[in-house]
Symmetry: C2
Subunit: 398 residues, 2 copies
């Protein structure tokens, strides 16, 4: 152990760092020994190991040493081209990232000075809040529950309040499809409203879309990016459509913003992992990605349905939940007064992990009576067993 | 192209971003068509493709799906253990990074507030300067040429001046072995002096050691870390002992500092690439790394010797160069008045790339009459041809 104390040496930023409670759960327990509804882990059954092995061999033979040399900071050209074709954008608008978490981080880095406002749906993705707060942004949340005509009213009121307080709004952060943690989706009308507000009040929208292609019912809704390509930075991820272990994502944005991100990325890590990018390109271009995605969607749909069915059977009457059209999560609301952070130790001792809703709240205190449940990671059988156990524990206290 | 201008939206940090001139050279030209002494690229001949292929198959079979799932933020345990054994440190003191550039970046992030001082040998690694300046550090350089007894005097004077100016020195950055760009090595006496000064004036040392195991003559010198494990953060890299395309490095440091880095890394990119970490572990633990390193050292020694021999034959009399005991670079000094930035376009037009020494200077203006030459990347034949051509061009102007 260190005998020297450096606590006075750390930067101001670090005083705003906070640990992910999700990751700390994983440090405490063996994921395979408990019922884990906690993480955002894809099912290991969706990783096509044979296909990965064949593709790696092909990449080795075809690319040779160039797959192991330093690569371009923007990412491997072939992969940028493949993404450009898949999503109908110009190659010049595509930057590869070393994970979509890095996408969130670099956007925050290039845009935020301490005190600048980031508007966010509330609750929202914990990893985004970690990054935002580490840059000392003022994260202003708007309740995501508001699904009515006064959606515009609510956002406009929040924006006007920020401006009256003399604050600078830099961007709005949105997981438009199957939000984390609520699982809810922003409607087309609401998306149009958001880009209108962005233009009117001159801010950027960062659209985080890791779950977009995991849709189990209903129809695709236009991305925020497609509604305002000049003003929206779109973040994509290979973690949920391929595998998270590759740590690859992408950014689609206008060239002015990408140029700043390029220079930022030079000093962050020079370039994304090169061999992995060639593997992702081959996985995508060969059609293996779409074939695999189809199977993943079917698997996750059946898991979602099974979880909802089991919740209906096992949960106390006062508990409600969202019905997500896609993604990896649903969100439970328990009676007022219930404290899911307090309840967590009891639950984990009994063998069930979840993430308390409070951790996703921009103010760090709201949503005490909520919890996020993941339905992608565990097997059908263990989903049923885990929900039964959670239901039993909740029935004892509610 | 964007029609909206966001230039007023960017953070203060971005005003201090600067592009790497090295990477911009690579954007302009095809590396295989010119004589490139510019980058810090290893030779592609040192990438054991067959071995990588076999190891990947073994990892696929042995680790299965877990090689593609999210991993621990600190890195895969097996790889941390392998590094811990190799370098004789505790596993708790090892953090895996997504490139050693990321190691530089996170150290700067957790330690530097705008205006804080980073002490540095001058000239120094450009990628470190990029990161330091992006956090608005005050980088104070000390000439690396000073190899005499007044080494201590020089550093002490610099430190005292910073303190008299009321500045806070956070850390000293040093590439102790085969410095980039000079190729020179800091002696044991000088290392002892540096850690003494660090303790006396209470600052940290960040020891960047990407080339340490590429030694072609002489004996290993104790790392700064081994002289003061509490106060030194040691950065390692797989880029030069395995291949840069994996983007993997490591940090060895005390637990208090690693804990901040852990939380920082959660918001940066969650975890390093997982499959790649298992491949690096197997490459290291199977002995393939050491066998390959031995071959790389022989190859690079012969290239260094050939370059020095050719320089002697081809350079104008007034040109001198360093004799590095290891690493990838040697450093040329041309007569006063020569401007290697100005000369660069002429040189590139003729087909020879180098990096002007000025770019490595902490003040961005010193070292006009210097240039860095890489001897690892090109074949023996092309090294001779390239130096002949550069000699011819220099003879025309000197």
């Amino acid at each position: 152990m260190s005998t020297t104390d450096f606590s006075e040496m750390f930067s101001e930023d670090t005083r705003n760092f906070f640990r992910s409670p999700v990751r700390d759960i994983f440090k405490r327990v063996d994921l395979n020994k408990i019922y884990s509804f906690a993480g955002g882990y894809p099912s290991a059954d969706t990783f096509p190991l044979d296909s990965f092995g064949e593709i790696m061999q092909r990449v080795l033979e075809r690319e040779g040493a160039s797959a192991f040399q330093y690569g371009a900071t923007q990412g491997v050209t072939k992969l940028r081209e493949a993404i450009s074709r898949r999503y109908g954008v110009s190659v010049a608008n595509v930057q590869i990232t070393s994970s979509s978490q890095q996408g969130i981080d670099v956007c925050t880095r290039i845009l935020i000075d301490p005190g600048d406002v980031i508007l966010s749906f509330n609750p929202t993705y914990l990893g985004a809040l970690q990054s935002f707060k580490s840059y000392r942004a003022d994260v202003v949340g708007v309740s995501a529950k508001n699904n009515t005509e006064d959606f515009e009213q609510e956002w406009r009121k929040t924006i006007e309040k920020c401006m009256a307080d003399g604050k600078r709004i830099k961007f709005l952060y949105a997981v438009a499809d199957f939000q984390n943690p609520s699982g809810e989706t922003i409607s087309l009308e609401q998306r149009k409203m958001l880009v209108k507000l962005a233009a009117e009040y001159d801010f950027i929208i960062v659209e985080d879309a890791p779950y977009r292609e995991l849709r189990y019912e209903g129809c695709d809704i236009a991305t925020l990016y497609s509604l305002a390509p000049d003003r929206v930075v779109h973040l994509g991820s290979f973690s949920k459509i391929m595998a998270p272990g590759f740590r690859l994502g992408w950014i689609i944005a206008n060239e002015q913003i990408l140029d700043r991100i390029y220079v930022c990325k030079q000093s962050l890590d020079l370039c994304p992992p090169v061999f992995d990018q060639f593997v992702a390109e081959e996985f995508l271009s060969s059609g293996a990605l779409d074939a695999n995605l189809k199977k993943s969607v079917e698997l996750y749909r059946s898991k979602r349905d099974l979880m909802i069915k089991t919740l209906k059977e096992e949960m106390p009457e006062k508990v409600t939940w969202t019905h997500p059209e896609g993604g990896l999560f649903l969100f439970l609301t328990l009676p007022e007064g219930f404290d899911s952070v307090k309840f967590y130790d009891k639950s984990l001792d009994a063998g069930v992990a979840y993430v308390a809703g409070q951790f996703f709240h921009t103010d760090g205190i709201g949503g005490k009576n909520t919890m996020r449940l993941n339905f992608s990671f565990m097997s059908h059988e263990r989903i049923v067993e885990g929900i039964k156990l959670l239901g039993k524990l909740l029935n004892e206290v509610l």
